[in-house]
């Protein structure tokens, strides 16, 4: 917290300044009213302490002037004993409180704390954020009642954040608040202190309290006070570990689950034929029963529900319980009615319905329902997403361990859940389950001839389509860049990028990437076959699809819910893809940063050229199927999520 003390008596300003500094407050001292006013016009203060009698501009005039200039922080007046009128006039002039000189330092500190407290919505004398407590009266910071030792600057930083729990502070704003006029630290200093503060809080167990808003500054992470309460942060870590472990277990057990599914599909196909034995049916019901229990924990809750419905159908075919007997009777009645016989006829026209086991003569209703359920179940299983994908696994390839250690240190300080592992040759991705594949590769590019590495990376990209690959290249080594480009590595690269910045960018990327699970797709002016195809893709991926053709409708749709990607046709009347793209990139539509994918089958090279010139992300020239279209959409989305830092994208695709 930064204060301004306007006092012309050097003894008092020195004593008070020292006492405030001891409490970790930063104090600027002005010796007259005009200087004080100048200071407040140039810097931000959390509190102003004014003497009433000041040369050039007296304290009361200064106070009024500060309020006129919209200074909203607290003002504390220092008045001489007996000057009651001064006190009244001072409070009327806009001061918040007064202290009579000579005053004791503890009294002044208590007044200061009280004033700062009033600035906060909560009236607590101790600043709290979950289990994290900062007591300004004692200068003590504790987490879960255990003391946290901070340097004076780290303490001040934390106090600033705690006093303004919803405010975002840029580095320069922090500099203004926490450093006095005589100091000229750079913004890097703030970064270093933030890092120190985070490390010490983290060691005490208060993790993820300070959030970096990339490119903007720092604040208390919204919601982290709850996370740090009741040990839920620890639970959060455990939960991430459980998810990762379940993903690994899925790799081991998915073949068993597919076996059960296939057994069910075989039985469903054999229903009504003489190939099916009652024992097969019983086994299939067991398989469905087992799937009920095992699919849910792997994240396939709907799969469990489908398996339960399948089990119920299979059991009904096995034992002919009343419910199914009713269905069959209804069917019989219907058939009898259709053939003109009386439903009450005691002689059945279809004796086989009653004489043969129901699994050999299943009702069409049951058979159809079963097939539908099995189809849905297969889709659920095939589309299973790893549970632990929110952790970014960064693989480091290189012989220099110092880069690796820097990465590990930066990742542990970062806000996003990341893990850095050192990868060693030979790189055998094929043996690894998907959940263990790295999401990013970082590699110092100091050895131009690494064909084995390049081959391995290309094979990794085939399995991990949104892989981020980063080469660390020295700025003064352009030849290395040429080698890299020539090597055919379709990689992002980072030139001389400080590791901290890199980790921050990766964290942001990772957090954006998580949102890929539920995307909004806007189709504009697409012909109906393309819309049907896109609808199937969106259903499979559980993305939302909206369609619009008229500009007004497109505008309204985009305003109501910002799409993550737009799909257009290159052709169209009266507006083709080029016209739409140009229009969408305007402020009116607000689609400047939304990736546009164009279905351009049959388009001329000139049209394609114009499309790219207008700013589309990708054009698909070939006739499409569901899978290639999903891949193209995913690629566009993944590329659009890449942080600004990954600008050096070399793509062979």
């Amino acid at each position: 917290m930064r204060f301004l003390l306007v006092e012309d008596d050097p003894t008092i300003s020195h004593t008070l300044g020292a006492a405030l500094a001891e409490q970790f407050y930063v104090v600027d001292v002005a010796e007259d009213g005009q200087e004080g006013l100048d200071y407040t016009r140039s810097f931000t203060y959390d509190l102003v302490i004014l003497d009433v009698s000041l040369p050039r501009l007296d304290g009361l005039s200064l106070c009024r002037q500060l309020r006129r200039e919209k200074y909203t922080g607290p003002i504390l007046l220092l008045t001489a004993r007996g000057e009651t009128e001064d006190k009244v006039r001072g409070l009327d002039a806009g001061a918040d409180d007064y202290v009579v000189k000579p005053c004791t330092v503890p009294e002044l500190m208590a007044r200061v704390r009280a004033l700062l407290r009033r600035q906060r919505s909560a009236d607590a004398p101790v600043l709290e954020w979950g289990f994290l407590r900062l007591d300004p009266s004692s200068g003590q910071v504790t987490y879960r009642d255990r003391p946290v030792k901070l340097s004076p600057k780290e303490y001040s930083l934390l106090e600033l954040l705690l006093r303004h729990p919803r405010r975002l502070f840029s580095r320069s704003a922090i500099l203004e608040h926490l450093w006095s006029l005589g100091d000229f630290p750079g913004e890097e200093t703030v970064k270093a202190h933030i890092k120190g503060l985070r490390r010490k809080l983290s060691l005490a167990g208060a993790r993820d309290v300070v959030e970096t808003v990339y490119g903007m500054g720092y604040r208390l992470r919204p919601g982290s006070e709850q996370l740090n309460e009741g040990g839920e942060q620890e639970a959060g870590d455990a939960s991430a570990r459980v998810r990762s472990a379940l993903d690994r277990a899925w790799e081991r057990f998915s073949s068993m689950i597919y076996d059960r599914l296939e057994s069910l599909e075989r039985v469903a196909a054999a229903l009504g034929t003489a190939n099916l034995l009652e024992a097969d049916l019983a086994r299939a019901a067991d398989d469905a029963h087992k799937l009920i229990g095992s699919l849910g924990p792997f994240g396939l809750v709907r799969g469990s529900q489908l398996a339960r419905a399948i089990e119920s159908h299979l059991q009904s075919l096995q034992s002919q319980p009343p419910a199914i007997a009713t269905v069959d009777s209804q069917l019989e009645t219907q058939l009898e009615t259709q053939t003109g016989s009386s439903p009450s006829s005691s002689t059945p026209h279809f004796p086989s319905l009653r004489d043969r086991p129901s699994y050999l003569q299943p009702s069409p209703v049951i058979q159809q329902a079963l097939n539908q359920l099995l189809g849905d179940l297969r889709r659920e299983i095939q589309n299973r997403q790893p549970l632990g994908r929110d952790r970014l696994l960064i693989g480091y390839i290189g012989s220099d361990p110092s880069w690796y250690h820097s990465l590990v240190a930066a990742a542990s300080q970062g806000d996003a859940p990341m893990e850095v592992v050192m990868l060693e040759e030979p790189f055998t991705w094929d043996a690894l389950p998907t959940s263990d594949l790295p999401g990013a590769i970082v590699m110092p590019w100091n050895d131009p001839a690494q064909p084995a590495v390049l081959a391995a990376l290309l094979s990794l990209r085939r399995r991990q389509r949104d892989l981020v690959t980063i080469a660390l290249v020295q700025r003064n080594d352009p030849a290395a860049l040429m080698d890299l480009a020539q090597g055919g590595w379709d990689a992002d690269w980072v030139v001389d990028q400080p590791i901290d910045g890199l980790i921050q960018a990766l964290g942001q990327y990772q957090s954006d990437r998580r949102t890929m699970d539920r995307q909004r797709v806007l189709a504009i002016n697409l012909p109906s076959p393309a819309v049907s195809l896109l609808r199937r893709c969106c259903q499979q991926q559980q993305w939302e699809l909206a369609c619009a053709s008229q500009p007004q409708r497109v505008c309204a749709t985009m305003a109501a819910s910002r799409p993550d990607i737009i799909v257009l046709s290159a052709h169209g009347s009266p507006w083709d893809g080029v016209v739409w793209t140009r229009a969408l990139r305007s402020d009116i539509f607000g689609g400047q940063r939304i990736p546009i994918l164009v279905l351009a089958e049959g388009a001329t090279s000139t049209t394609v050229h114009h499309l790219y010139q207008a700013g589309v992300a990708s054009c698909l020239l070939d006739p499409l199927g569901v899978d290639p279209l999903i891949r193209a959409l995913q690629d566009c989305l993944a590329q659009s999520l890449r942080p600004e830092i990954f600008k050096g994208w070399i793509s062979s695709q």
Binding site: L246, I292, S294, G296, P297, S304
Partner: protein, 124 residues
Amino acid sequence: MITKKVLVIDDEADMREIARIGLEVCNGWRVLLAASGAEGIKVATNEQPDAILLDMMMPQMDGTATLEVLQGDAATSHIPVILLTAKVQAADRQRYAHLNATAVVTKPFDPLMLGDSISQILGW
């Protein structure tokens, strides 16, 4: 964190692994595994776990038979047994209520919450 020893008896390897992951990682408990009723009885007798999670549907010796043996043997009768089942019909529930087990946990369960459910049931 209280360290407990829990025995999971289930013939399905994936279910054993899911329970192990949940209890070990989230709760830090020691988890013993058995793939059949007979094996489970042997482990329970030798290891004296604090609780047993018992799957009801197993080949040969099913959950009901295993529970009878566990409860009939002085060496294991004091160990609380929680039944694991995917059966949710009222008739099944009624049947399980007569088995004198401590509680029934329905499958599918959330592995993250399994330990908490057990703690709640057993007052840990």
